[in-house]
Amino acid sequence: MPETRATDGISLDVRRGEIFGLLGPNGAGKSTLVRQLTGLLRPDTGSVTLLGHDLVGHPERASRLLAYLGQESTALDELTVALAAETTGRLRGLGARQARAARDAVLEELGLTEIAGRPLKKLSGGQRRLACFAAALVGERPVLVLDEPTTGMDPVARRAVWSAVDRRRERHGATVLLVTHNVIEAETVLDRVAVVDQGKVIACDTPAGLKAKVSGEVRLELVWRTGAPREVPEVAALAPLAVASGRRWVLRLPPDEARAAVAAVTGGPAFAALDDFTLATPSLEDVYLALGGRMKGLVKA
């Protein structure tokens, strides 16, 4: 069997107090990286240093430095929200009274007090995720490692998550490592982001810095009513440049060419076949694709 490398030659430096993101599609190697940082997986080679501690030599120290929110909630599913938070606090070393106080404070902070008595598995996906996030916050840690924390959440719950994270940064300079495949979230909450693809970091910068790399291009999206009218010469000329998925074409073009393309499809005979079009400045998804990212699976929500 050939050797499989989940992550290969990755070198990252996360600064204290920043929200650092790992962005990439599912299967890119983000979770492997996180498992190495949380002491769940020992890397074959290389080093992991967290707040001055060598985690390859002492993986058990990870749990005393960071709080981890994984993607699975099966360990907590049958507990009530309150008991899940309190038990996690106790297992993070808090005394009984401290754990109860921390539980009440966190549930209040996240707006979970009303559903504190309900078992997690009876909640919606977003509420359950928020309850697991609450458990991760009980028993403060200087580092938070959050693996897609807002999956399934409504905007109110998302805001509660990011406000809670911000409060911890302000209060004691907490560092956050966020794993996400959500492009919009990455652009709005992250200080810096590493773009991961097939086990390698293909770029690492601020979201604005990354977008500047592809600022010479704009994105043109065309949606056809049924299919593209390839008999129109202007459309036929655009076809090799387009990434087509069903009725949708996505093109990345220099601004003047994009303007010309818009004029061509909205002016001539192609307009009858056009359902919708958008012209936009590049997003992190465009950065990912422009840098050679080959996998699909980034989401915009």
């Binding site: 080093s47 005393r64 430095l65």
Partner: protein, 258 residues
């Protein structure tokens, strides 16, 4: 990968053994109350049903004692061995162990807390089965207090075995299968009176940890119980319990960081 190499941060304290065990026990007991009560009914009815069946075959005496004791301990085997093997198998397969593995909690607290919760959850079913059996076969009920020792000790041995099977099984289905087989063994070897078994089966029966719990319990129905032998049987049960819980803790460590 590194995060801030300037100053070495202070490590938060570990969770201590007994408080962590108590927290896991409480959480597991609350889980069991919500999710496992129907299964406890199944376990109890199963044992009651077996005793009713055996009533037609067995006519009192030592055989009746063995049937009542075996059926009562079977409730423990059903919950502590079978259900705990399934629980740990499922937790491992779904990645739920990561939750515990990223908390500074001693592995033994997690395993012992869960095992103790499952074992104590069986107490009411065991008691109902034993009382029903005594009425059915006309046995004295004065010695039922021994269940207070039999359930935790047999529970420890069987729960440790169940947890180890669940954590060591390479796939979730195998964990379930192992739990079921373990329970079937406890049923066949524990409930059927040993007097009628062939030699090899009696030998297998001696290897099953629950057997010593069954024997200890059965002896207390005698008019003048031999307390030394009862204590010896319970001692074997306890020793196997310590051993199987140690294996389960080792299995947990192995499964949690892989």
């Amino acid at each position: 990968m590194s995060a801030g190499a300037v100053a070495v941060a202070e490590l938060a304290p570990r969770a201590r053994f007994f408080p962590a065990l108590a927290a896991v026990y409480r959480a597991q007991l609350s889980r069991a109350r919500v999710a496992r009560i129907p299964l406890l009914f199944v376990a109890t009815f199963q044992s009651v049903g077996i005793m009713i069946l055996m009533r037609g075959v067995v006519d009192g005496g030592s055989e009746a004692r063995a049937v009542v004791a075996g059926s009562s301990v079977l409730v423990v085997a059903f919950v502590a061995l079978n259900l705990l093997a399934q629980y740990f198998g499922q937790l491992r397969a779904s990645g739920g162990l990561d939750h515990y593995a990223t908390l500074p909690v001693p592995p033994a607290s997690v395993v012992l807390g869960a095992a103790a919760a499952y074992a104590s959850f069986t107490l009411p079913g065991t008691l109902v089965t034993a009382v029903f059996g005594c009425l059915l076969f006309g046995l004295p009920m004065g010695g039922l207090w021994i269940l207070a020792a039999v359930v935790p000790l047999a529970g420890a041995a069987l729960a440790g075995l169940g947890a180890a099977l669940g954590l060591l099984a390479p796939r979730q289905e195998l964990a379930t299968l192992a739990g079921q087989l373990g329970m079937s063994a406890a049923l066949l070897l524990g409930v059927l009176p040993p007097e009628r078994m062939p030699g090899v089966i009696v030998w297998a029966r001696d290897l099953l940890p629950s057997t010593y719990g069954v024997e200890a319990f059965a002896r207390t129905f005698a008019p003048h119980p031999d307390w030394a032998t009862v204590a010896f049987d319970l001692g074997v049960c306890g020793a196997v319990g310590v051993l199987s819980l140690a294996v389960a803790t080792w299995a947990y460590r192995r499964a949690a960081v892989g």
